[in-house]
Amino acid sequence: MIEIAKIRKSFGAVLAVDEVSFSVSAGEVFGLLGPNGAGKTTIIKMATLLTRPDAGYCRIDGVDVTEDPLAVKKRIGVVPQANNLDRELTAYENLLIYGMLHRVGHLRDKIEMALKTVELWDRRDSVVEGFSGGMQRRLLLARALLPEPQALFLDEPSIGLDPQIRSQLWEIIRKIRIDGRTVLLTTHYIQEAEALCNRVGILAKGRLIALDTPDNLRRRTGEFVVESVDGDGKLHQAFCRTREDAESTAAVSHSSIRVRATSLEDAFIDLTKERLGK
């Protein structure tokens, strides 16, 4: 279980994270959505001991990250946003060192299994520098899973991946959820949050402005959206609770119009536009 309570972090005069609280249960995939600079990565860094919070606390399975960092490090796996693999080492060597650092038992068998899971076993002796972005992301995931952590932090796990590889990655994350582990992920891809997350938190300017299941967030915004384009080509959206409301709204409009079901992306844009001053 991951607990984040009233956590706050400033960098100089910039308030990056402002009293954010939420918890993620075992077996749950929780997504943090937000525009650039919303504070998603800073929250992950505070929960994974890279950045010290100014206030509040993060607990992993009840253990406070600042009070007992070693115990927390034994419980977490991290896929960072920026590739931090040793580029001059091979895929196998990267996992070997990581496994030794985390004292993984039966290490060689587990490395083989991890590399086979992400379909990199055939490239085990290749230097990481020559890997494509997608291969590096898969290797980062294999590395994070090697010690079988209870809590997994994925910071933009599928950034830069093509749809096929992204779909493979999602399958692995779904399997992790089935295994009963806790997953906290940040993403720019709304589709990813819809596909994977039990619940979603929406961040804007360091504050958590919404937290619910993807379905409830959509419902809260309105289940249907009426879209029209004016003479200047500007898109206008009106959210409605029912299809009947949406169709009657559409009926009074004279411009080009369509009615469709609200997506999580609509809810995200609607929730964040006020915060971002749009």
């Binding site: 080492l89 060192i97 004292r103």
Partner: protein, 249 residues
């Protein structure tokens, strides 16, 4: 402070990186080029007709070059690699997030720095055997070399942890390491220095490495230099460990 098992994977990681570098053409040559230029210029060129205490200048120079080379290589690798890994490649994050103590991280890094320092020094020692038939390696020589590698690898960790950019690392080298290489008695006897400069030079750790590495017996001066080297090694080690413990992005 616990070092524990965790230092070994940190050390092994650096050794694997070192192995990959060794396989590259030119790495060994680049580690040797500066000290060999000094050896040829000062030892075989300028110092050909100089004697010190009845021995050839080259016999005086080689232990100093070994100390200087061990300093440069132990320090530079740590300062540069750690700085780059922390600031640009972010690979240091994996060590910080691993369930090992800060003292294990620094100990593993220092051991790796020592291997690199000793490797480069061994090349100079080999050149010394070839250039000076009377040259020998005593246990005191080895002790001085090991301590020198340890303390400068520790200093490299400190600089690597404190630097905010790659340029910072170069600045530390230009203002600390380079002057120390020339002022600490590598190329000349310290008793020739004026008094005011001596006071500064005797504070520098490489001065004491140079004193100790040239001793054949542990006299009072040797014990004093040994104590100074141990003090610097311990101070740099604990300060470096504290910097790692306080790691904060």
């Amino acid at each position: 402070m616990t070092v524990g098992y965790g230092w070994y994977p940190v050390f092994l990681r650096e050794m694997l990186l070192f192995k990959h570098k060794l396989l590259r053409v030119g790495y060994v040559a680049s580690a040797m080029v500066t000290p060999l230029i000094y050896l040829v210029t000062f030892g075989l060129g300028l110092g050909r007709n100089v004697t010190i205490h009845g021995s050839s200048y080259i016999a005086f120079l080689i232990p100093g070059l070994a100390a200087m080379t061990s300093m440069n290589n132990s320090y530079s690798w740590m300062a540069t690699a750690l700085g780059l890994n922390r600031i640009y490649y972010k690979t240091f994050q994996t060590l910080v997030q691993a369930p090992i103590h800060a003292s294990s991280i620094i100990f593993g890094e220092i051991m790796a720095g020592m291997v690199k320092g000793l490797f480069a020094s061994a090349l100079i020692v080999a050149a010394g055997f070839a250039a000076s038939p009377g040259f020998s390696v005593s246990p005191i020589f080895l002790l001085a070399l090991l301590l020198n590698c340890f303390l400068f690898a520790s200093l490299g960790v400190i600089v690597g942890m404190r630097a905010t950019s790659h340029e910072d690392t170069a600045t530390y080298s230009n203002f600390v390491i380079m002057p120390m290489a020339f002022l600490s008695g590598t190329f000349f006897q310290l008793d020739r220095l004026p008094g005011y400069l001596k006071a500064i030079v005797y504070v520098l750790p490489l001065t004491h490495a140079n004193i100790l590495i040239r001793k054949t017996l542990m006299d009072q001066q040797a014990w004093l230099s040994l104590a100074v080297l141990v003090f610097y090694a311990a101070a740099f080690f604990f300060y470096g460990a504290a910097l790692i413990r306080r790691y904060n992005e």
